[in-house]
Structure formats: structure tokens, C-alpha cells
Symmetry: D2
Subunit: 318 residues, 4 copies
């Protein structure tokens, strides 16, 4: 921790600050430069994080040196994370589509999508059973019944299932029926939920929130990891800005631009792509405007494969 | 709903769209202007909200006419909301401080603060028992024990208690010990929690999220209200922007600017002010940098009262 | 400057960095902590600002200690800036309305507004002659003729004039006819214009840009001040965020909320308030939606005066 | 234009609004729906844009139907824009690097870079002679001398030159020495400059501003086009958001992530890529942290070509 003092800081202000530091078991080193006096703090910086140093008299600014997350840092493991689920590997040289309907609507359409995905050599199916909807009057998903349909589809077509959990009470069901648990953007700082997922035997796909800084996102991953579950998949889904022409909820949120976004995401090095697929997007119950049909998906796969090869990666699709 | 069509839209594209509209029991009215053809839709607009009109061929843009919230709209009741808790009234001509420690630390300091608040004629005490912390390694609050301390302080000094709930499992305890339930910024779209609070016999203080649009915030209020609980207090706490000099977590987040923010909030017509007070902010366990001490609070009260009077309001403080 | 090195930084990486520092005439001090090695740099930090330290191998982050602006810093003068124009003083205990039409439309209405302002004891009149319009097809102002009208109105009713300059070629005219030169939000980083205004014998009212950080805003002020003109008035006009319910171009941009914004701005300590006044806002050529009429302005003045008194300030209005 | 009225709007309020509309030569059509009355306006919508309809009594919201730009709209020409400069074509199936130093430093390094670009079959060289710098104390470019160096390098190595103009007084020089004129992000709404560039015989590369909405950006293009110059190249350079880990000034602003950003930009369909190249980026006078060296550029070209081929495009590099 570096504490920059104001010009003209008083001697007793410096003493007040250094005393606070010593009380926490840390050692202050005062260094007087041409324009500012600074205090460098030796010792475990975390002990100082909650002290209101920035508000103390004589302090101009406070600069932490160490990142507030540990396990979520690349420094911690020293290598890229690879997650294995059954015979599917996420991370590494092969990238995956996480494809499927926004929301599970019924058994028939879900089976139809799963069959299509298998034909395209896709291995990971996404689908919502519990849906976070901005409006209380909107369709909220099939719940447990949706989970069961997803599982049957997965078993019939050799797929891995990712689905969202919104409440702690549903975790057991989701663990029972799904292979990867998704935390939605709006729950990225639902710390109670994150903590609970830290002791669950399933990888967690953690979506970035609309206004989550990368550091905060990694802190949310840390919540899960610090409880024991080291398998966290970070899913960038766009952030909220002043621009209203695109929709941060879905990377771009405009159906006609989905292919370009997919290619860009692959080209920039993503390990996976979440994509909504539906036999008839114009009739989809939720998010039809961001959903592609089977033909469009096939076209996307063709180019996606070439883009992946261009950067020396493989992609799991036909 | 107004659907603006692209120039050169094909006849069968218009037919596809109007057919979709009719299938939902609504009536399309086509109107051809100088530069664009538009379709006005007569009937219950909500039926159309989930249809992916914007992605359909020939559509340039879609404009809803009606707000997506009902009960949370001023149009619904036609008057300002007033909430009565015991002998305290929120809303109307008298504005209140919601003052107290960021986090309940122990019985002694909580009682000391409560006594001070009573002396200052403050009626509403805030204090955190369950704390949402960005870091899993930070102090997370005293939990149930914190709730009990708050209740004892409230009973001893004739105060109303507002405290945050983060998880559904804690709702019963919070209802038992507190008078107003706070939903924090990070849970503003935790829809499962909101829905549950819709059937709880306590007013809900709903903080705005860091990136919540006003319309979304009202939709979150609607989640609570649509389950039966009409007593929602909206608490604006600042939004996240590109500026890093201030902190959206606390309106301004810099202790020295707190008085100015309080006066501005009163002058702009707020019904209440949340403010963190602690006997020794530099030693506070959480958020000390945004906390004032008893003397500073007294100074703020003096001017706050004058500002309130300037706009013909009263304020509950000495 | 503090340079934080990555864990496991190589010895020759450290040497490369320290050599770069020495070449610039500065002295590096290496300090090895528990988790990170840092390099503190002694000497004039500005010499290092343009070196791409952050991209050098082994560097995790770079933290400047000193602010990049000098004259625009409160540290430089040690006191609040006060600007005197004729018998009007800006800054200090008396705050001013800068009131008038968005755009000068014609002599008659301008005189009518000026007369009204004098009656209300307002001393500073605003009015646009050169208007920055988002659309090339919108009314662009009366230009030089507008400046002359403003001057005549000011002379007739004992007012000080503030008006915007958009191009260097118009500076001479604006200096001739106006008392304060406004730089609009869209030109806040038009560095050529700013530099030119640094040698002009008029105070500059510098509006904050839609996405200007406070530090950048002060750097823009520094551009003016470093050329000799120390009289810069900073005008906060709201920034662009994700929220679309209000308009950053005018603080709030919604006529019905203007009074509350005025009171809040006063309560938070502003030295002046820019406000658009027009005899018939619904017929105003530009920005009518953010403009109040004479009656509304009179009502605002009454409360504004009380709010100013509440925080022990005076305000120049009847 | 669609005007949505408030519930309970008064009859004379409707009359006031419709009268205003008729006075402008337009025809109001009132339509009464289940929840709202709306007024559709027939005629040239632009006549209404400046009327403060949204602030009039009884009005809830106003929705324009037509985009405010014309020539900058794809509807206007009906096809992609292609710009030809000497034997180089921008737009179409071949994409170009616009590569070169951030700032022209001297003849020798500029020639060295130009020679390298020619070897790599690059046809467009970028380089700054007039540099917009946040700080008045930073290096501001070589000015006219820089332009001459660029021209000599271009002539020697068969390159097209793009360089920025910051002030109207420099336009003649830039036209004399450069092939494409760049408008920087900070001047995107310097309307005086834009208008002047509308009558200049050079294509304009118009960078998006840090907080410019796409609609506003197109309006800025319209400023240029409405004066006669139809050759505008839009350059997306990232916008300002709450995230501080990347730098909106340069797409990503972190040297190590430049390759990924280049590939993503190509994959998403860009017609060109601006990239800073320098023989020794660590010694570059400006923006070294966002600059790659010759070896890195060569590596980027190799993959860039493959990514372009993946989406069926060619790229002008070896």
C-alpha cells in the first residue's frame, strides 16, 4: 500500500496515520520526494483495506499494490484453467459452442434442438428453466420441469447441460439435472448465492454483470473459489454503456449482427461462445430477437470454424 | 406499440408482421407516411412485448407506448406514496434521516449511536447485520446477533430500524427484528428475493443498482408490489459512470463532500437521507471513509434543517 | 511515480526499466515487499509520463504520484479563485445566475429578456450567437449580428455577457462584444481553441464535456492557464451515462425538474447557475424544453434565495 | 413523429399541441387507444425537431420516426461506400492496414517505417504531425515539418498518407501533403471544423468520440457530406465506459492485447485497421504502450490474413 500525502501535511497528521498502520501490525516507511511525501506500508496489505485511510486528514490518495483476489488470479495457478466434464474439455485448444434455446419451452422443441446440436457435433447445450425476467408479468420459465426436459434431451443426444440458478433453494435440483451451473449477470454480486456455489460439485459459468468491473468480476469468482470450487468459467456478455443502439444483455442483441460477434469473439481468443438457437426464433417465447434458426446456425458454424483455424484453434462443430 | 418499417419493405413482410399481431388478438393499423410506413397496434400492448418484432424482416424499429410497470407508476395511485410505521411517517412534508453505523459492530457502540440519534430527534436508525462485501475475506457482519442488538437499541431509544436482507433464508429473522427491510444495490434485480419480499409485512427500501435504469428500478419495485406489498421506498444511491473521482456506492463516497451531498439531496426534494454515523469513523470496521462522527452530524443537521425550510419542508432532527 | 513489478520479474527486466529511468535523469529506488517488488522514482515525474512503462516486460502497473496539472490545482494558489468583471464578482460568498435565452433570436426578445433580468437584479446574461448543433440542418445562430444584439442589451440594462465561441476565427469578435467567453462541452478538448483562449483578455467559462473526467477537465483548464489566462470558470453540466431518462446536455434536460436541479446545485456549493430563460419557451427556436419563462424564473429565484441563505450564501437576484 | 399523451390529458392541452403542429404546416392525427391517446404527425418531421413538444403540458413522450441524418444513411445510397485514392480502394472486398507511427518523430525513423510498410505490401501510412494531447506540456507534434516528412516517405515508398487536422488554419497544409484527412475523437463534434472539411477535396477519416452515440457520429458525418464531400470513413476506436482496465483511446490500449483486437476487428467485418508501428516502441515519443514493433507487426499480419480469408475477404499485406 502506498499512501500519498497532501502538500503541507502536518506532522501530527503523519503520526496519526503511521500509528494506525502500526496498530494493525504493519510497518510504515516514510519517503519524502520533491513534490509529495509518501508512506509505503510493509506487511499484509489486506489488513489495511478496510481502514478509511483515504478520509484521514493529510491524505491525498491511497494506492493498493496487491490485487484483492488471490485464487482467481492467473498468478495463483500460473497456467490457463482447463475444466473437464465427462468427455468434454473446456479451455485449451478446442473451443465450444454453448448452444440452445434461451428458455426451455417444451419437450418436443427441446428434443428437436438437441438432435440438431448433435448432428452439428455440438457438445454443450444451454437452456433456461429458471429465467430472470425484468418484468414480473413475463414468462418465468418451466422450473423443475424444464430441468428434467433438459436432462432427457442431454441423455438422448450425448450433450452437457448448462442452466441458470437464481435461488439457493433450487441449487440441489440444478446440481441433480445439469452439468454446469450458470450465474446470470444480475446475480454476479449475489454473494450469498456465490458462496453457496463454492461447495457444489459442478463448474460455475459466471456471467459478467452489466456494470461489473473486471476486478469485481474476479472477486465474485473468488467468492466461489474460496469455498473450494475452483472450476469457474467467466462469460463476458457485454457491459452497459451510453450507447443504446446495441443491447448489452446479449453482446449485441440484434439478430443480424450475431454472426460478426461470434467471429470476433472467436478471433479474440474466447474458449466458448454462448448462442441462442431455436427452430423458429420469431415464435420463441423469450429473446427471439437474439436467437438464430438452424440454417443460420449452420452458416455461422462454417465460418466460425475457419476463423478458429486462422488463429490455430479447433472448434467443436461440424 | 408503433412498428416503424424500413423504406422499401416488401408486401409479404408487412403481411407476416400483421399476421403475428392478429394471432395475439391485437389489431394492426397500417399508416403510410412520406418517408416511412408504420403499423400502429391497438389492444393490450403487453401481449406483444416478448415477440421479437425488432428482428423481423422489414422492421426498422419498435416503439412501446405504455410503460411496462403498472403499480409502480404514479399514474396508478395518482398521488405520492406515504408509508406509516408505528408513529413515523415517511413521505409527505417531513423528511427523515436514516442514520446509523454502516455495520453493527457491538452492543456498546450501537447503543451509544442510538442514544445520540434520540438526542438529535432522529427517528430512523440504519445498521447492517448482513453485509454484502465485494471480497469474501472482508467482515461480513454479525448476522442474527446484529439484528438483536439493533432491536434492543431501537426499543431503548424509540427508533425505527432499517436493515438489509441478502438471502431468503434470513427474511424471517429480519422481519422479526426490523421495521423496514433494505434491498441492496447488488440485489436490485435478484428477482427471487424481490418476489419473496412481496408477501412480507414490512416496507421495503429498494436501493438503485449501479447500472439500473429508472425504468428497470421501477420494474423491480413492481416485482414486490405485484405480490401484494405496496410499501416500497426508492433509495437513489448514485450510479456507475466513467468518472472515478467519486464513488457511486455512497452518493459521493468522500467524507469531506458528504454535507454538500446531503444539502443537495434535500434541496432536490428527497423524502429521506441515508447517512452513516459512528462515534469514531476512522476506527469503523466498514465504510469509515463515508461515515461522519457525532459532531459532524450535528453540523450537518443544522444546515439541513435550514435547507429543508427553504423549500418549505420539515425535517425530523434537532 | 511508483512502478509495481510482476511476481517473478526477471533481473534483466528490472535493469532495462531502471536504465530507462536513469536515462531520463531520474533516480530509481527498488523496494522488495512480501508480495511485490516496486520501483519508486525520485525526480520530476513529468519526464516519465510519456514513457511506455506500463507496456514494458515485467511491469504490472504504474502509479503516478503527482497530478498532471499544476496551475489548475488548488494546491497552486492555495485559495478559491475569484474573478472580477466590471463591478461583478464571480466566486466568493455571492452566487450568480447566468440567465438568458439559449440562442439570441432577435433584438426585441433579447431586449425584453435583458430588461426582465435587470428587474430581477440579475447581473450576468447568457445567450448564444454561434450555436453548436448536432444537426447541420438546425438553426446555427445569428453569428456576429447576435453578438451585437447581446452587447446592446447588456449596455442598456447593465449586464455582463457570456457567449460561446466555436472557432478561432470568431475569437476577436467575441472578445469585442462579450465579457466572458464560453467553451462548449463539445470543444472541451479542442486544444487548439483552448490554447488560443489562453492569451485572450477575457475570463473563460469552460463547460465539462459529456465524457470528460475531472482530471481531464482540469487539464483543459491548464491549457488556457498555461498560456497566461488564469481566469477559468468551470461549469459542470452533467455527464453522459447509461440513463436515458434525463439529458446530460442540460443537467436534467426536463423543464419540470429544473427548479429542483437549481436548488440542489446551490445547496451543493456552486458559485453560479446557468439557466435558460425566454418569454415564451414553447416558441423558443432552440432548447425550449429546457427553458423556463419569466414567471417560472421568478418562482425559482424566490426559493433559490432561501436555499442560498440556508448555507450562508448570498445570491444576486431579487 | 408520434406524440404520446399523458393519461387524463386535457382537451385544451391537445388543442394547444395540434395548433403548434398545424402552424408548422404539418397535419396531426389523433388516435385514442386503450391506455393512451397518441398524435401522429404527417409531413416533414424535421420541421418539428426543434419544437419543445416533450415539455408541453399533457405530453408524456415524443418519438421521432425518421433518422435525423440523410446522406450518412445507408438508405440514401443503397450500397456500401467505396473510396478510391490513387490506385488504392477503401471499402469492398479488400481490407487495409492504416499503419505507421503515432507521431512523426524525424525523417529517418519515418523513412524506416515507410520502407518496412512497403516491404509488407501495406499501402496506407498513418502518422501524426499535429497531435491532440491531453496535457499542454506534452509533445505536440512537428506540425508542417511533420507533414513534409510524411509526404516524402509516401512518395519514396508508394504509400497513401492519412494524418490528423486539429484546426481550420492547418487544413490547406494537410490537403497539400496528405491523401486522407483524419478528424480525431476529441473533434468529432467540432462542427466548424467538420463543415470546413465538407468542401475539401480529400476523404475524411472520422474517429468516433469517447462518448459519441452512433446516431451522433453519423450526424457528424452528415455535417461533412451536406457540404459536398461524400467520402467519409468512419473509424471506431472504442468508447468510454466505467471499466478502467482498458483504454478507450486505442481500442484496447494495452500492447499485449493488440493482436487479439486486430483479429476481432477483422472478423467482425471492418474495412480497415489503424495500427501504430514503430521500430522501437519503448522509445517512441508518444503512445509507445499501444505500439508494436516490426516483428510483432509481421506476426500480426500473418494471422490477420488468415482471419480475413476465413470470412472471405482479402487483406493488403504480405
Amino acid at each position: 500500500m502506498i499512501i500519498v500525502l497532501k502538500p503541507g501535511v502536518a506532522k501530527d497528521e503523519i503520526e496519526f496515520i503511521t500509528e494506525k498502520i502500526r496498530l494493525l501490525g504493519l510497518i510504515p516507511h516514510i519517503s519524502t520526494g520533491e513534490e509529495r511525501t509518501i508512506i509505503g506500508v510493509i506487511g499484509d496489505e489486506n489488513k489495511l483495506r478496510e481502514a478509511p485511510l483515504s478520509a484521514m486528514a493529510g491524505v491525498e490518495s491511497v494506492m493498493p499494490i496487491v490485487k484483492p483476489y488471490k485464487m482467481a488470479s492467473r498468478d495463483f495457478t500460473g497456467k490457463d484453467t482447463i475444466i473437464k466434464i465427462k468427455d468434454v474439455q473446456i479451455g485449451g485448444n478446442v473451443l465450444h459452442f454453448f448452444a440452445g434455446p434461451c428458455t426451455v419451452e417444451d419437450e418436443k422443441s427441446t428434443m428437436q434442438i438437441a438432435e440438431f446440436l448433435q448432428q452439428k457435433h455440438i457438445r454443450i447445450m444451454r437452456g433456461g428453466a429458471f429465467k430472470p425476467r425484468t418484468s414480473p408479468y413475463a414468462f418465468q420459465g418451466l422450473g423443475l420441469e424444464g430441468l428434467k426436459i433438459l436432462r432427457r434431451a442431454a441423455d438422448a443426444y450425448n450433450l452437457i447441460i448448462v442452466t441458470e440458478v437464481m435461488a439457493m433453494r433450487d441449487i440441489d435440483d440444478v446440481v441433480k439435472y445439469a452439468d454446469i451451473i450458470q450465474v446470470g449477470a444480475r446475480n454476479v454480486q449475489n454473494f450469498t448465492l456465490l458462496k453457496e456455489l463454492g461447495s457444489v460439485p459442478r463448474p460455475v459459468l459466471l456471467k459478467r454483470g452489466l456494470a461489473t468491473k473486471i476486478e469485481e468480476w474476479l472477486m465474485s469468482a473468488e467468492y466461489i473459489m474460496s469455498e473450494g470450487n475452483k472450476e469457474v468459467i467467466l462469460c463476458e456478455r457485454g457491459i452497459r454503456t451510453f450507447e443504446t443502439a446495441t443491447d448489452p444483455s446479449h453482446g449485441v442483441g440484434v439478430r443480424q449482427y450475431i454472426p460478426q460477434m461470434v467471429y470476433a469473439a472467436i478471433a479474440s481468443g474466447s474458449d466458448g461462445i454462448l448462442l441462442e438457437v431455436h427452430p423458429d426464433p420469431d415464435a420463441a417465447m423469450v429473446d427471439g430477437a437474439q436467437t438464430v434458426d438452424f440454417h443460420e446456425f449452420t452458416v455461422i458454424c462454417d465460418s466460425a470454424k475457419k476463423v478458429a483455424h486462422a488463429i490455430n484453434k479447433e472448434i467443436a462443430c461440424l
